[in-house]
Structure formats: structure tokens, C-alpha cells
């Protein structure tokens, strides 16, 4: 049986032109020529190999999958390269002892983002509302942060926030051009904080992180520099632009929002933030 199997497997090797010396190949060929049974084995192996090679056609990889992979790998590449730079900038800007006047901070940030094309940053440990929001957005884009609750309307999101322990009134407006896709509640030093995400038909994302304004002074993990805090309390919208996303900080009623998006920033400003601020949705 062992010998019989050996010649059968040698026939497979013969068909595949593998694992046989020239002498062994000649021996196998002789065996095939002399035995109808082995001839059949040879024909089966050869015809199945040819059939599969010729007839199993490859599906094309979907374009969106290639785009996703290219975008994620190139983004990782840039992020690693610029990590140390953006770490330094953010540490400088968001550490109170280095605080400058708000005007110069904004100018400096705008220049830094636009000149160096800094992408959304992952893995930064400095805790504050802005950095957390940017990190979370980068994680969403990378597929590392998934919604705890998949939902498509404001009522569901707000109910989820309530049931998950968010102790302040949340604002979750609905829009025609952006659909709510999911929500997350995080725990920052025992305080449950609300996050939700919108998407448009083309897949652009809007990530919204909202806290009660009291959190900015009571929770170290979300507090901002005094200059930014003052601007938000004066109802100014503070905007940071990067080459592939924008981040907005603003206040409405009792809540302060960090919004990060890869959608058109002017559109977000005019159609999303203004509508949110003008709405009475609580």
C-alpha cells in the first residue's frame, strides 16, 4: 500500500514538476506509460490541475477596500513620522504654564497644521477635550473604536446616553445630509461622557464629543487652557485645521463640544454647527 501510494503521489509531483529528480521523473513516466491504472491517475491529476488553473477566475478586489487599505496604511505612515512633532506642539499649546494669547495660539496652530500637513493624531496621552477628540476620531477612522450602540436617530442616542449613566442633558440634533450612525459613552474619572458620530452618503464622518461646561473645570481629563475656556464661554467657535480633518470647539447652552470631521469644514461650520447652536434641541 505504501509503495502504491508513493507512486500515486509521485504522479502528482510529476504533474506539478515538483520534488522529483530527473531520474525519478523518468521512472514515473515509464510507470504511467505501462499501467492503464496509473495513466488514469495521471489524467485525473493533470486535468484537474488544468481545469482549476483555467476556470477558477479571480474576483476583483472591491475599489473601496483598496482605498481603505491605502488610506489607512499611508495615514499610519504619516502619523508615525509626525508623531513627535505634534506631541511637542500640543504639549506646548495645551499646558497652562505655556499659554499665550488666544490669537497667537490659533495662528500658530493654523500655520503648523497647514504647513506640515499634520494628520489626525493617535496615541497622544496628554489628556484634554481636544486631544481626546482627535485621538478618538483617528481611532474611528482606523476602525479601532467601534460604537457601543448602533443607532440612527437622536431619540435612541439620547436614551442610550441616559441609560449608560450620562448625568447631563445632551444635545443630539438630526440633519438631512448627515445620518447618525452610533454612540459611545466613556468613563473619565468616574464621569460618564457622551460621544456620537454622523456620516454622510459619501462616508465622510462627523464625530461629536460633548461634556457639560462644569467638566472643563472639574475633570482634569477634559480641561482646556484658560484662554480657550474663556473663548468658549464667550460663545466663540475655536477651529483647528489639518490637511485631512478639522476640529471645532464650541459651546451651546450648558454643553461644550469638540467636533472632529473629515468633511468640508466650511459646510460643517455653516450647516452643522450653526444649526446646532441655533436649535433648541436638548
Amino acid at each position: 500500500m505504501e509503495d502504491k501510494n508513493k507512486i500515486l503521489y509521485d504522479i502528482t509531483s510529476y504533474v506539478d514538476k515538483e520534488a522529483l529528480t530527473e531520474k525519478e521523473r523518468q521512472y514515473v513516466k515509464k510507470q504511467i506509460d505501462e499501467s492503464p491504472e496509473l495513466q488514469l491517475e495521471y489524467n485525473i491529476q493533470k486535468s484537474m490541475k488544468n481545469l482549476v488553473s483555467a476556470r477558477i477566475t479571480r474576483a476583483k478586489t472591491p475599489a473601496y477596500l483598496i482605498d481603505n487599505i491605502v488610506s489607512k496604511t499611508s495615514d499610519t505612515s504619516k502619523r508615525t513620522k509626525q508623531q513627535s512633532f505634534i506631541n511637542g506642539i500640543k504639549e506646548f499649546l495645551f499646558t497652562p504654564k505655556y499659554a499665550l494669547g488666544i490669537a497667537s495660539i490659533l495662528i500658530l496652530l493654523t500655520i503648523a497644521y497647514s504647513v506640515f500637513n499634520i494628520p489626525p493624531d493617535g496615541g497622544i496621552k496628554t489628556p484634554n477635550l481636544f486631544v481626546q477628540a482627535e485621538n478618538n476620531f483617528a481611532s474611528i477612522i482606523a476602525g479601532d473604536l467601534k460604537p457601543q450602540k448602533l443607532c440612527s436617530n437622536a431619540g435612541e442616542v439620547k436614551e442610550f446616553f441616559r441609560s449608560a449613566g450620562v448625568a447631563y442633558a445632551t444635545i443630539v440634533p438630526e440633519f438631512k445630509e448627515w445620518n447618525i450612525i452610533g454612540a459611545v459613552v466613556s468613563d473619565e474619572q468616574g464621569q460618564k461622557l457622551a460621544h456620537h458620530v454622523y456620516s454622510d452618503d459619501s462616508g465622510k464622518l462627523i464625530y461629536v464629543y460633548q461634556v457639560n461646561k462644569a467638566h472643563l473645570t472639574s475633570n482634569k481629563l477634559v480641561e482646556l487652557s484658560p484662554e480657550i475656556y474663556d473663548n468658549l464661554m464667550s460663545n466663540n467657535v475655536v477651529k483647528f485645521e489639518a490637511h485631512d480633518h478639522s476640529t471645532f470647539l464650541f459651546r451651546h447652552v450648558e454643553n461644550v463640544f469638540a467636533l472632529v470631521t473629515n468633511d468640508d469644514d466650511t459646510k460643517i461650520e455653516k450647516r452643522f454647527i450653526e444649526n446646532l447652536i441655533n436649535s433648541n434641541t436638548i
Partner: protein, 185 residues
């Protein structure tokens, strides 16, 4: 890092169709194949500095895909088909030359089968057998590369390949007979 990324694009991206098709065959679902291929590329990029230049990048990518499949995908799904090798062996050894006319092996018999029929028959093979056929006859891997992929000696690769083709043949043979492409009296 830029150079590394460019090299990664040049080396790894050309194999995406092969990986995607293999992932489709392994998972049987386009959504799962999407996830598996994406995970494979992200892992491959993360460890691309460990890739030994000049070696077979396609085989390296396939190994990463296999590990992702086993570690991340399979543990969340049902156990794969278990194969009783003795049963398989007995099954195909019962096909005797006297049962089969050589002209049934002519390609025109199988030419009548649709590509989908052939693909379905291949997909119906137990996973271990399907894998070696795809790697050998669709992807063109050598026995050594397949052995590396399935963590088995080369001898196992060729015996499994032999059995796999025999099983595929029996499936296609009965399929062709059912469709009336083969008349047996």
C-alpha cells in the same frame, strides 16, 4: 518611513486580488473577506520592516492572512470542517479505472460545466483540501511555500494535493453525469 511605505505599496499591493480571492474562499463571505484582507494589510504594514527583502512577499502576506484567519476570524466562527483522512482515502481509492472511461477526462466534458459549477465543487471540498488546490493551482505556490503555509512537510502537501484533486474530480464527475454531459451505460 515614506520610503518604507512606497516599498510596501510596490511589494504588497499587487497581491491584493490573490489575497482577497483566497479570503473569499476561506470565509465564504465578502464582508468577512473584506475584514480579513484589511487586517492582513494593516498587520503586514506594521511588521513590514521585519519582512526579509528578496524573499517571496506574496507568500509572506498569505502567512499573515492565514494567522489572522485562524486567530481573529475562526475563533469567532464555527469550527472548520473536520476531515477524516481515512474516509477520504477509502472514498477515492474506490474509484477504479474500470469505472471511468478515459474520454470523461477530456476537457470538452468539463468545458460544458459553468465556471460557477467548478467553483462550487471546489468550495465544497473540506478546507484542508481546498486550501492546497487553491494555493497550488490558482496561486501557483511551490510545494515548499505551501508546506510553509500549512505547517506540514512537503510529503503531506503532495499527498493532500493528490487526494484533493481526486475528490474534486469525483464531485465534477457526478455533477457532469447529473447534468447529462456524461452518458454511462
Amino acid at each position: 518611513m515614506d520610503n518604507l511605505y512606497k516599498e510596501f505599496e510596490k511589494e504588497a499591493l499587487p497581491h491584493i486580488d490573490a489575497l482577497y480571492n483566497f479570503a473569499l474562499k476561506m470565509t465564504g463571505s465578502s464582508d468577512d473577506a473584506d475584514d480579513l484582507v484589511q487586517e492582513t494589510y494593516l498587520k503586514a504594514f506594521r511588521f513590514f520592516d521585519k519582512f526579509e527583502r528578496g524573499t517571496n512577499c506574496k507568500a509572506w502576506m498569505f502567512r499573515i492572512l492565514k494567522n489572522s484567519f485562524i486567530n481573529d476570524y475562526r475563533k469567532n466562527t464555527k469550527e472548520p470542517d473536520k476531515v477524516d483522512y481515512d474516509d477520504v482515502s477509502n472514498f477515492y481509492e474506490n474509484i477504479k479505472s474500470s469505472d471511468i472511461k478515459t474520454d470523461h477526462l477530456q476537457e470538452d466534458v468539463y468545458a460544458k460545466l459553468m465556471d460557477d459549477d467548478i467553483a462550487a465543487s471546489l468550495n465544497n471540498l473540506p478546507e484542508d483540501f481546498r486550501t492546497v488546490i487553491i494555493l497550488s493551482d490558482v496561486e501557483g505556490f511551490t510545494y515548499e511555500e505551501i508546506a510553509d503555509f500549512i505547517d506540514c512537510p512537503i510529503g503531506t502537501v503532495r499527498s493532500r494535493l493528490h487526494r484533493a484533486r481526486k475528490m474534486l474530480y469525483t464531485k465534477l464527475f457526478s455533477y457532469a453525469k447529473d447534468k447529462g454531459f456524461i452518458n454511462e451505460k
